[in-house]
Symmetry: C3
Subunit: 186 residues, 3 copies
């Protein structure tokens, strides 16, 4: 009897091992060693809002200009930004740092972007920078980019950040919610 | 006698240890935990091929324009791309994803580029993104760039990708073969 | 008596544990597994120095041009560079490689940049590339960026590089000193 239980248990464990060898789900079961939820706010320069714009189109494909996003889903536009980071979704909350870098619109038939930017945080809780790289299929509710490094309190950190468009007003204002999960913390 | 053998063995092991301390070869002996060979295809917009172009010059140095690559080995051109990825070297094979991002021509007296891009894969085998950064000395047969992160099935992955120019037709079409070797797989 | 000492010791150790749980210092005590100090030299094209310029403005916000850095702390300028790397601070020392990539001025009210570039080294000591990403608050004496990957002798390396402006002459020449500390060496 005892032997039979052992055999059943053995096959059950085998099954578990095999199932976990090729995970079908996209979310891995790892637990972050640190997690931060932050918002940042982008106000794109459109030729009239120089006073409060936080980003500018600086490159465009042939036939486009630098105050109106390009025609084919903005393909080819590069935008440089210096956006305030807040702890909640209010643009007017006290900023805890700046999100700085660029995004590149990179598809002709839908809205996707390529992101290369850093968070520079300067709060009582966190001092340091977090560096991000990744593809952003904008119309997907939640999309993941890579945390490729960090400095200061984020020294050598790596992780994954889930990006959500928290608000979008025409082509001038958007707000992103980043759920930053570090899996290597040092 | 036994002592002499021990001494010879000792020096031999010392020699092995010292030789391996400064490896001369560029290829490390590590075995990848996952490997993918993929191709992607770039058709540069030249002012006449809007219908099938997959990339556009969006920035150029003074004196150049956005339909002809710049003079001095294209130094200063930034190209944004959205290229189909295939499993073989045929442009017309069913795409398994998109290679999206930018390349920057960054030398005046030879052809080199700086790459920042992502693979977004969407197949039955793989769902997720792979993020690449690196220097690409285009005229070298095989050159290595870094895999700095990934999401989905490539969650937290790191590795090295060997890039080969598989085909090059004038300044409008090129095909790259990427041998992606992951050494951290999670 | 002995018990009291034990209690004092216990609280003292508790205190140590708690203090170290939230490190206030930005520098972590980790020891690098490899370290390199290198300099690179940037001569920006200004319309008159085509012969010896090593970098060019290739993107600018609306209203600016490609030979003069833009008004508001150069916000929105993208510069592509191909700079010689030297072992000391002399521009005319024999180069040991090239620093290639881009920097983006990304703040309106101070000087900060976002860096994406690679070192391609070709010396008797080192053959390979090092890939960097990070925020550069230019006016800070020493600022840290991430080493996100490497190839050749820097296969799979990660680390942090401390950047210092070693010299700055007007808007045409600057020299950076990089203290590259690898904490993952493979």
């Amino acid at each position: 009897m005892k032997a039979r239980i052992s055999i059943v248990l053995f096959f059950f464990l085998m099954f578990l091992a095999v199932s976990s060898a090729r995970p079908s789900a996209k979310k891995k079961p790892y637990k972050p060693c640190k997690e931060l939820v932050l918002f940042f706010h982008d106000i794109l320069y459109n030729g009239k809002n120089a006073g409060n714009a936080t980003s500018s189109i600086v490159a465009a494909p042939q036939g486009s200009n630098l105050t109106i996003l390009a025609g084919a889903n903005h393909f080819g536009n590069i935008v440089v930004f210096d956006d305030p980071i807040t702890l909640d979704n209010n643009l007017h909350s006290p900023p805890v740092g700046r999100a700085q870098g660029m995004y590149i619109y990179d598809t002709k038939n839908t809205f996707t972007a390529w992101l290369g930017f850093s968070f520079s945080l300067n709060t009582t809780d966190y001092q340091g920078s977090i560096n991000f790289i990744g593809a952003d299929p904008i119309l997907v509710k939640s999309r993941d980019i890579s945390v490729v490094g960090g400095t200061g309190d984020f020294f050598m950190h790596r992780g994954v950040a889930s990006v959500q468009t928290d608000s979008y007003e025409g082509e001038v204002y958007f707000r992103l919610r980043l759920d930053i999960k570090f899996y290597e913390c040092w």
